[in-house]
Symmetry: C2
Subunit: 217 residues, 2 copies
DNA sequence: GTCTATATCGGGATAGAC
DNA sequence: GTCTATCCCGATATAGAC
């Protein structure tokens, strides 16, 4: 909560937060550098002392979005536990990361402009993010915990649920999203409470929830 | 399949199809009237003989998107069957509508620009679309078929799954999406096959799948 | 109903003073 | 590191000939 700026100067941080908020409600293309600047209360060119391009702002936000989830996936890889338990922990914590970040990161990963312009590095990060879910689902399926379905399909369905966080009018909690996703995924939905308990009890490498947020820079 | 133009002139129809395709992959703001025109092979001002505004194109696409689902909801309302069965039928048929339309309608309903500009009428249509799902889920829950959860949450989770159709790289079928959604929704997931069969056997008012696509105009 | 030409505007980015 | 002023471009939309 107390403003975990992560490698960014306070000024750059304000730009990122403001931009994220505006992009979340208007989309990237419809968010001008003028709008961002005036929302902060500075002149438009001031932004360019912190980011040399408007695209760099979006790039930074993608990094802030996938950084912690990718890091967490790495930590979980070094823990011994069933894949389905790791997936539960990863999903809940990643959803909370998106919800609680001071930057409005939801919907950033689905920005269409990322797939049209020079965002190769960011697309690669998102590909890794998606890959984490596919790997978890496939492993859990091999261990008999996920019902018959293509792992890629299961992963896509789970990933789509992240966008539920973005709806402003009606808030759905990460816990509700995880429950829904897992009931849809599990070979035996009755095992959900047990899996949830095991996931909450996991202790990955990092101290706790708010470790380093940005490990990409 | 054979080009169901629905009240639109052939020329306007080509504009809509081309625009939908471009919007799906680049976003609305990033899709210029020049791009649309040149993709068709005409000069940019030619578009304005068919749509007096770029926004009118997006508006038409929203109508094409929600038209059939809203109509189908009306038809199902006049049928006697458990709400959970109606929801199954509505969801499968609506997903197929989005997938099979000659216009690439997926992601149109989540265009952020709709919530920023003069799109009050379109927002109302989307509100109705969402309302259909909420009503189905609530009714099915009252009949004991949906497990304990807020109907609004359940509806949001189901609606989010529509976007899975939009991922170009890996195609998830409507049937897979419905199965996942219903396993997550049902109080007793084991009843899914029975509900699916009942939904497929339903015979709503309209002749069949490809009735009037646009009932809004 | 299509074209060419053009008006008008807003957005990204730079220059240079302070 | 912020400002003002400005360049340049691309985008929507219109005018008017054919």
């Amino acid at each position: 909560m107390p403003a975990p700026t992560s490698g960014w100067s306070p000024a750059a941080d304000r730009i990122l937060r403001t931009a994220a908020e505006l992009i979340a409600e208007r989309g990237y293309a419809a968010t001008s550098t003028r709008t961002i600047a005036s929302a902060i209360g500075v002149a438009q060119p001031a932004i360019y002392k912190h980011f040399s391009t408007k695209n760099d702002i979006l790039s930074a936000l993608v990094g802030l979005g996938v950084g912690r989830p990718l890091e967490l996936a790495g930590e979980l890889a070094r823990v011994s536990a069933p894949a389905i338990v790791k997936l539960h922990r990863w999903l809940r914590e990643s959803l909370e990361h998106f919800r609680d970040s001071p930057y409005v990161l939801v919907a950033i990963l689905t920005t269409p402009e990322l797939y049209q312009e020079n965002f190769a590095a960011e697309r690669e990060l998102i590909r890794q993010f998606d890959g984490v879910v596919v790997d978890f689902v496939r492993a859990a399926q091999n261990e008999g915990d996920v019902r018959a379905m293509k792992p890629e399909s299961g992963a896509r369905l789970v990933i789509a649920l992240f966008d539920v966080l973005a709806v402003p009018e009606y808030q759905v909690s990460p816990a509700e999203i995880v429950d829904f996703a897992f009931t849809g995924l599990l070979a035996d939905p009755a095992r959900l409470p047990e899996i949830r308990a095991a996931a909450d009890a996991l202790e990955p490498a990092g101290i706790d929830g708010d470790a380093v947020v940005n490990a990409i820079d």
